[in-house]
């Protein structure tokens, strides 16, 4: 990795990583990548988020669904852990709570494959300060 050598460098870098992340997030190309984020802070892991993440990856492989699974920090819904955020191409992200292995299968078969909503969606109850 080359070091970031100046503020301009950093800005350019921001634009390029943003572009690649955006491609992942906003594209409405139908066969574009589905994104799954598992909340993996101590609170999530304590309720089994690690297993859920592993199971998600395994189940996606088994069902031959292309999706990018990543981890993230605490979303704040400790009462509903494990929580998982799913972004379908061209749609707003949705957070699902109380995720079990059975629920993972359902999420893949119903929501990811067919766009059918499932119970235990967690409403976003906050606004976030916007980046520049």
């Amino acid at each position: 990795m080359n070091k970031v050598k100046s503020l301009d460098d950093l800005r350019k870098m921001r634009e390029s990583v943003r572009a690649s992340l955006d491609l992942r997030e906003k594209s409405d190309h139908p066969d574009q990548m589905v994104q799954v984020k598992v909340s993996m802070a101590t609170c999530g892991i304590a309720t089994g988020a690690k297993e859920i993440m592993n199971y998600f990856i395994e189940a996606l492989n088994r069902k031959k669904v292309d999706a990018l699974v990543t981890q993230t920090g605490c979303m704040g819904y400790c009462y509903a852990e494990p929580t998982v955020e799913i972004t379908l191409p061209g749609k707003d992200p949705l957070v699902f709570g109380y995720v079990t292995k059975a629920k993972v299968d359902e999420l893949i078969d119903k929501y990811i494959k067919e766009g059918i909503l499932l119970d235990d969606i967690l409403p976003i109850t906050y606004t976030v300060v916007k980046p520049e």
């Binding site: 990795m1 070091k3 970031v4 050598k5 100046s6 503020l7 460098d9 950093l10 800005r11 870098m13 921001r14 990583v17 943003r18 992340l21 984020k37 909340s39 802070a41 101590t42 609170c43 892991i45 990543t70 981890q71 993230t72 920090g73 605490c74 979303m75 704040g76 819904y77 400790c78 009462y79 509903a80 955020e85 709570g97 059918i116 909503l117 499932l118 119970d119 235990d120 969606i121 967690l122 409403p123 976003i124 109850t125 906050y126 606004t127 976030v128 300060v129 980046p131 520049e132």
Partner: protein, 588 residues
């Protein structure tokens, strides 16, 4: 359809059933899906329904409204005005949930990236303006300029004391020395608090970036993060973050081609509460006993190894990059007159939505507990909320509508502390609660000064006596006197605040203390020694089940004749009450 506990209690399931039935009748079940969601934090106005994709928000919906919603909204495309959220300020119905100011009740600044980015990937942080504030500071601003901006923003320390951050930075900056240090206090010792842990686990780079900015301002080239070894995941993510930042040249020598160099190391704490106090923390890092020392000298003058050291809390740091990018004026607008910005709270105890929340200063306790928190579990009655952990006090009904900020909480006899917020209901005994915290402080006192070492122990003993029904009315005066002497004479913040839980419960719940002392009763039914199990002779059928299960052989009686409990033998295990099939055994 919101199916949070609040809405469920007001018939959300019935509404779902009605909606489904009507959709079936109209053969719309393929086109319209009814889905249960978690709590919207809108419980006062429940049950609530949100219709997507048009973002209509219906409040106080009744089961019989289902038909109207399907007929009017879903079939004819006309919103049902009567059920739309009524904006309390404008008295107008809001057709679109995006305009409902309610959602501004939680505003995420410190938690801006938690749950959004992968904390182990620096690119995702950079995509959200990461390290841009550092870049801006070291290439376009003078250290004084940065400090001025932070001072003007009104940011105050989030570690408990609420000291103005810019002023502290200025102190450290002004001291002449060959070496200076920047320290991040990630000790987080309050029972039930996990704000700092969540920030470090979810967004470690924001803290690293802010520490480097602090280094630039104060003239320090070295940063140290003091973190408790009990936070392995946070430690691991910090290590990954530091390595990535070094690899990118955002930490290390000549950052972004400037003359500024800064690196960060971790130091581990063994989990002593007093080591969160800044002087004790510094001694612990030096390899000495974790004991507090008298201030002044403040760490800003003489800290780690005798050099000027700037200590700030994790959450304080997490605010810094945003302030520099958005400007002090923007930050100034959020919060109250003397407390700017937001505060993160770990909401715990008897509320429905236990979790991590961030609200602008000035939000009321009611909005936090009954709005975001979804109200009290199992429909019980709210009794008190403890803020500030073992250093704080408890607040009651009468404080619910007070805006939360540093000064208001102190005035009410509690404090902001680091942000723990424990909600208690009618089943919690306030005397036992005060005893719990005292037990904690006695355990955690470093023992250096006598008011805290001996005084707190005495406070604990008196409380213990009261919970066992052996207290006297004199004890109440003793608690008060001793408590205020400890506050005035203890050496460090631990002892100076440890009597707060006792003093504030004395102020707000005198009748509970009196009930323990005069009537030998615990109104909440929590203090075991004051409970007695009794069998109601009219309900007892003489089945002998309780007698056969009592581990202490305290129950006697013949078959088919009401049984009796010998209170002297009873160990109050509660087994008999659990076993009795006739509800004949009660606890008083």
């Amino acid at each position: 359809m919101c199916c949070g506990t609040g809405c469920r209690a007001s018939q959300s399931e019935q509404i779902i059933a009605n909606l489904q039935e009507i959709l079936l009748q109209k053969e719309l079940q393929e086109e319209v899906q009814v889905v249960r969601t978690g709590c919207f934090g809108f419980c006062e106005k429940g049950p609530v329904i949100k219709i997507v994709p048009d973002n209509t928000f219906y409040t106080e919906v009744k089961p019989e409204d289902a038909e109207l919603i399907v007929q009017e909204h879903l079939i004819k495309g006309r919103k049902v005005d009567r059920l739309l959220y009524l904006n309390p300020e404008t008295q107008e119905h809001e057709p679109d949930s995006k305009h409902i100011t309610f959602y501004k009740k939680q505003y995420r600044i410190a938690l801006r990236n938690c749950g959004f980015i992968n904390p182990e990937n620096i690119d995702e942080y950079i995509a959200r303006d990461g390290y841009l504030a550092l870049g801006k500071a070291i290439t376009e601003m003078t250290p004084e300029g940065v400090i001025q901006e932070i001072t003007a923003s009104g940011l105050r320390g989030r570690g408990g004391g609420g000291f103005p951050t810019g002023v502290k930075w200025n102190f450290t900056c002004k001291v002449e020395a060959t070496q200076k240090y920047v320290v991040c206090n990630a000790d987080e010792g309050d029972p039930g608090a996990f704000m700092d842990r969540s920030i470090l686990e979810g967004d470690p780079h924001s803290v690293l970036e802010a520490m480097a900015i602090n280094g630039y301002c104060t003239g320090a080239s070295k940063g140290l993060i003091y973190i408790r070894a009990e936070y392995p995941l946070a430690i691991e993510r910090l290590k990954i973050a530091i390595a990535q930042a070094e690899e990118y040249g955002l930490l290390g020598e000549h950052i972004l081609g400037t003359d500024f160099s800064f690196d960060i190391e971790l130091r581990y704490g063994a989990g002593a509460f007093v080591c969160g106090e800044e002087t004790a923390l510094i001694h612990s890092m030096e390899g000495l006993r974790g004991e507090a020392t008298l201030k002044p000298p403040f760490p800003s003058e003489r800290g780690y190894n005798g050099f000027p050291t700037n200590v700030n809390n994790v959450e304080t740091y997490a605010n810094i990059p945003v302030i520099l990018l958005k400007g002090a004026d923007w930050f100034q607008q959020i919060g109250t007159e003397k407390s700017k910005g937001t505060k993160v709270f770990a909401l715990a105890g008897k509320v429905n939505n236990v979790g991590l929340i961030e609200v602008p200063m000035g939000t009321t306790l009611r909005e936090v507990i009954f709005g975001i928190g979804g109200g009290i579990k199992d429909g019980k009655r709210f009794k008190a909320v403890q803020t500030g952990g073992p250093s704080g006090g408890c607040l009651t009904d009468k404080h619910l509508d007070r805006p939360i900020d540093y000064d208001n909480l102190i005035q009410a006899g509690s404090m902001m502390g680091s942000g723990g917020m424990i909600v208690m209901d009618e089943d919690d005994c306030m005397v036992a609660m005060a005893k719990f915290y005292l037990d904690f402080t006695v355990e955690e006192s470093c023992g250096k000064c006598s008011p805290c070492r001996i005084g707190n122990k005495r406070l604990y003993e008196i409380l213990d006596r009261i919970t066992k029904g052996r207290g006297t009315l004199d004890d109440l005066d003793n608690l008060r006197n001793l408590g205020s002497v400890i506050k005035d004479t203890a050496l460090c913040g631990l002892g100076q605040t440890s009597p707060n839980p006792v003093l504030s419960t004395l102020d707000n719940f005198m009748e509970e203390y009196e009930a323990h002392i005069i009537d030998h009763k615990c109104p909440a039914g929590q203090c075991k020694a004051l409970l007695s199990y009794v069998i109601d002779p009219y309900k007892c059928t003489g089945c002998t089940l309780c007698a056969r299960n009592c581990p202490a052989n305290a129950i006697t009686g013949e078959r088919k004749i009401p049984h009796v409990i010998d209170t002297k033998l009873c160990i109050k295990c509660g087994v008999c009450m659990e076993k009795c099939r006739f509800g004949a055994i009660t606890v008083q």
